[in-house]
């Protein structure tokens, strides 16, 4: 069920787009939905991030993953345990750009004895990196469709992406990698018992959706020829707020576009928001200078006071006097010595 429902949902989306265009709703799928989706995406994304930002960070809680700044002769791990803003920026850079924490991944196994072993396990890191970067390359490549003239880096990127020079039109490496990586992430989720057990439909749905987007894109580029000129006219039109649909673009394009719209709408309400969250995670984006610079908690409650020393002394004054402990307030003079029930220290 957890896998089937999201799969059916994506098939359903494809069907909706296909039928919609058949019954003459091309302008809705080609113009209205993309605008709506973009609005929801931007609005939703900002809303979520602002929502996070509204909650304060009451305590400074970086996860220290290396030696802290301490005595001058002890070498600090500036990246995994930064104490300055520059260090935090470096840590975040490695985190966001290279997925440093995921790189640490290990795989534990239990043997008779019982004994435990922790093997290095970098494949999740590798495929996550491949997935995200191929996705990024493809998104940037798509800028060709929305800009005229295109920014200089788009053709450069296309050149390198097509460097294998296979087929006509040239095969893009990123397409292959993206599909491969998505399939890997899916298979991993299904095959590893623990991961399958924790997975929700909300984990499969984006995978199927992205796979659908990639496959329809690939179909469009390599197999089902579509009217590129008309598409570019529409997309540039969308970007310049004067969209027009000319000629027969082909349903596959609308299906592709509709899936992309779905992804955009889905994004801010789902775990895909980790894209924003990774920048704001207090365990990663704070400097470990806790004892050097005071951190302010806006809701710190000044009315919480310790059980006072005087109340303490009042309760134990007699014993304290007996034990020769200094007092703030001496015992009333007349009192006979209190009876301590514990044995007194034996001295040799």
């Amino acid at each position: 069920m957890k896998i089937l429902y999201p799969f059916v949902a994506v098939l359903g989306l494809i069907l909706i787009a296909f039928l919609g265009v058949q019954v003459g709703l091309a302008p809705v799928f080609g113009i209205v939905f993309p605008y709506l989706a973009l609005l929801v995406f931007i609005g939703g994304f900002i809303n979520k991030v602002v929502g996070w930002g509204k909650s304060p960070v009451p305590f400074r809680i970086p996860t220290t993953c290396g030696q802290a700044n301490s005595l001058p002769w002890i070498k600090q791990n500036q990246i995994d345990c930064p104490s300055t803003t520059a260090g935090v920026v470096a840590r975040m850079f490695f985190e966001v750009v290279l997925f440093r924490s995921l790189f640490r991944n290990t795989q534990a196994s239990v043997y008779d004895g019982p004994k435990l072993r922790y093997g290095s396990s970098k494949y999740l890191w590798l495929f996550a990196l491949l997935f995200h970067y191929s996705f990024l390359v493809i998104v940037v490549r798509h800028m060709r469709l929305f800009t005229d003239p295109m920014p200089f880096f788009v053709p450069v990127l296309e050149f390198f992406d097509g460097i294998l020079q296979i087929g006509a039109p040239t095969l893009y490496v990123a397409d292959l990698i993206l599909v491969g990586a998505v399939l890997f992430l899916f298979v991993r989720r299904v095959l590893l018992p623990a991961i399958r057990y924790i997975s929700l439909p909300a984990d499969y749905f984006p995978l199927f959706l992205i796979l659908g987007i990639a496959l329809t894109g690939i179909l469009m580029r390599y197999y089902l020829r579509v009217d590129i000129i008309a598409i570019k006219q529409l997309t540039v039109g969308l970007a310049t707020l004067s969209p027009t649909i000319t000629g027969e673009i082909g349903s596959i394009f609308y299906i592709h576009l509709f899936l992309v719209c779905t992804l955009l709408v889905y994004f801010p309400f789902s775990k895909l928001m980790h894209m924003g969250g990774v920048f704001m995670s207090p365990t990663r984006n704070m400097a470990n200078n806790n004892r050097m610079v005071r951190h302010i908690n806006p809701w710190n409650d000044p009315s919480i006071k310790p059980h006072s020393y005087m109340a303490y002394e009042d309760e134990f004054r007699e014993f304290m006097a007996e034990a020769g402990l200094p007092l703030e307030k001496e015992l009333p003079a007349k009192e006979e010595a209190p009876v301590a029930d514990e044995p007194t220290a034996e001295k040799e």
Partner: protein, 550 residues
């Protein structure tokens, strides 16, 4: 601590069917209820403790729910009528107060990188002990109440209603997490399940669901100044006994001062250090060290607890208990504070104290009177870790040390979760070790430093009624100790944590009984060559020194 043997508890981690050994549960986790039976839960808080603590925090009513007698194994926890409302409002309040909580509720992608990083999961194989699922126990409720997808799609979106069964699950699994942060090291978004566990425990307290093992020490600490409930005269007397032992071993009489105004330094350590073995040997180490360098310092009976069990309940009680430290420093007019060896104590001191109870502008930036070193890293909190202080002394050659006095020990070092992952103190203890022992051997990587494994009994889980669980949760730690014991003849496990000293002793006694647990300062104390000492024949625990066995 009873001498537990490996077969007595019948912990069969490698052969019991579990997710760690590859057996996949047939039922979805949402359909698997938590079942309490003797041995798998900590006893509920006594009604009078709840009453006492609530009264101590009477300006913040409701934090600990209604005091009552209840029974965890029963189906009726005597919860308030509107307990669900209290919980949901409690979540709402905390989402608005803690950005970490909010982000961690939204961002998990269930990649599973954290799954096998938790010692509780490795030792029990229980799926809900994977940090990601532990967090999902809370997240599922969050989705149901606070997200559109959850409200519309329900279980399809991973949402579910708050029910009594969920509450039981929370109690079970938020008390099978030691807030050790190991999962957070591996999570690509730094999701710290410890933060979620903390929220979970705060919420449980709101409806009066609690454990006595945490509430009682916390109440003690409020009243008598320390978890053990030692009254001032007893505390002083305990330390005097330790001084007697020191005199017998070294021939030196030490007379520490108490509650002394005008001392330069206030020294605060967990009360367990003056209460029971093997912590007392660590305390003897402190006493010898301070005597050796002639430090102008005082102990306090009022602020006689370094640890803070409030941390395991809610931030309010943590603040209240911690506030004694600065209050006492101010009353005594000391210049700065040295803190003894303890893990969660230092989590509070490093991450929370200054924010909660600062600014400590009546203190001075700590400066070692012996070496002149200014501890810039404690410039505002004004509290220095004993290991930082000692490492500095050693570096400047201010200690007369004879490491051969520890030659009967082959030592490895256990990084506490808190000092490593919530403070970043990794090298100082090692620098000390290298100077005070001749045989030091690291445990395998992936089990030390920032990826160190918890003792399995932190955050107030160090109670006898859950021994089986503790031995399981501590297995990854014990296993690494066993590795260096078998390979390198290691016979001593050094640590800088009072809870460790107690819990690791039980753990190691169970899994690797040939190894002893030892505070770092005990090893320092053993190695110190004191002025005017007699010839030492034994270490601080009256164990014969190498070459002195005859």
């Amino acid at each position: 601590m009873a001498n537990l043997k490996a077969d007595e508890l019948g912990v069969k981690v490698a052969s019991d069917p579990s997710l760690t050994t590859g057996a996949v549960p047939a039922k979805d986790w949402m359909d698997t209820p938590a079942v309490f039976e003797p041995g798998n839960y900590c006893y509920q808080g006594k009604s009078e403790k709840v009453e006492y603590i609530s009264d101590a925090l009477k300006n913040n009513p409701g934090l600990f729910g209604e005091p009552r007698d209840w029974d965890i194994e029963s189906e009726d926890w005597k919860l308030p009528e509107n307990w669900k409302e209290i919980i949901i409002n409690g979540i709402k309040e905390r989402l608005d107060k803690f950005r970490s909580f909010k982000i961690f509720m939204d961002c998990c992608v269930r990649c599973g990188a954290c799954a096998d990083k938790c010692h509780f999961f490795l030792g029990t194989g229980d799926p809900k002990n994977m940090p990601v699922l532990r967090a999902e126990l809370m997240r599922s409720i969050y989705r149901n109440e606070f997200t559109k997808a959850g409200k519309i799609l329900g279980r399809l979106a991973g949402a579910r209603e708050m029910t009594f069964a969920v509450l039981k699950e929370w109690f079970m699994y938020f008390y099978q997490c030691t807030e050790c942060r190991r999962c957070s090291v591996f999570c690509p978004y730094g999701i710290d399940t410890a933060e979620i566990t903390m929220m979970g425990r705060e919420l449980l307290h709101l409806v009066g669901v609690n454990t006595n093992w945490i509430l009682e020490p916390a109440s003690n600490s409020n009243r008598t100044g320390n978890h053990m409930g030692l009254q001032p005269h007893t505390l002083k007397e305990n330390v005097e006994y330790l001084c007697d032992d020191i005199e017998e071993i070294t021939g030196i009489r030490i007379t520490p001062t108490w509650n002394r105004k005008g001392a330069e330094v206030l020294f605060i350590t967990p009360s367990a250090d003056v209460f029971a073995e093997p912590g007392i040997y660590t305390a003897m180490g402190y006493l010898l060290l301070f005597e050796h360098i002639g430090l102008d310092y005082t102990w306090s009976t009022y602020a006689s607890e370094g640890g803070n069990f409030g941390l395991f309940t809610n931030n309010e009680l943590m603040k209240k208990l911690n506030a004694k430290m600065y209050a006492e420093a101010k009353r005594l007019g000391v210049k700065w504070i040295i803190g003894g060896e303890c893990g969660h104590m230092w989590r509070v001191l490093h991450q929370y104290m200054d924010t909660m109870n600062g600014p400590a502008d009546f203190l001075e930036v700590p400066k070692s009177p012996i070496t002149g070193t200014v501890f810039e890293n404690a410039a505002t909190t004004k509290m220095v870790h004993i290991s930082e202080f000692t490492a500095d002394l050693i570096k400047h050659g201010k200690l007369k040390l004879d490491p051969s006095r520890n030659d009967h020990r082959k030592v490895t070092f256990h990084d506490s979760c808190n000092t490593s992952r919530a403070m970043g103190m990794l090298e100082e203890p090692r620098e000390i070790l290298k100077a005070v022992v001749n045989n030091f051997q690291e445990m395998p990587e992936n089990t030390i430093r920032e990826t160190t494994f918890c003792c399995g009994s932190g955050t107030g889980l160090n109670t006898g009624e859950i021994m089986d669980l503790r031995m399981r949760a501590g297995l990854p730690r014990a296993n690494a100790v066993q590795y260096v014991h078998e390979k390198n003849d290691v016979n001593t496990l050094g640590c800088v944590c009072a809870i460790d000293r107690a819990t690791l002793s039980a753990l190691i006694d169970y899994w690797v009984p040939e190894v002893q647990v030892c505070g770092l300062s005990e090893l320092v104390g053993n190695a110190l060559v004191m002025d005017g000492e007699k010839e030492k024949e034994t270490g601080l625990r009256f164990e014969a020194l190498e070459g002195m066995e005859g």
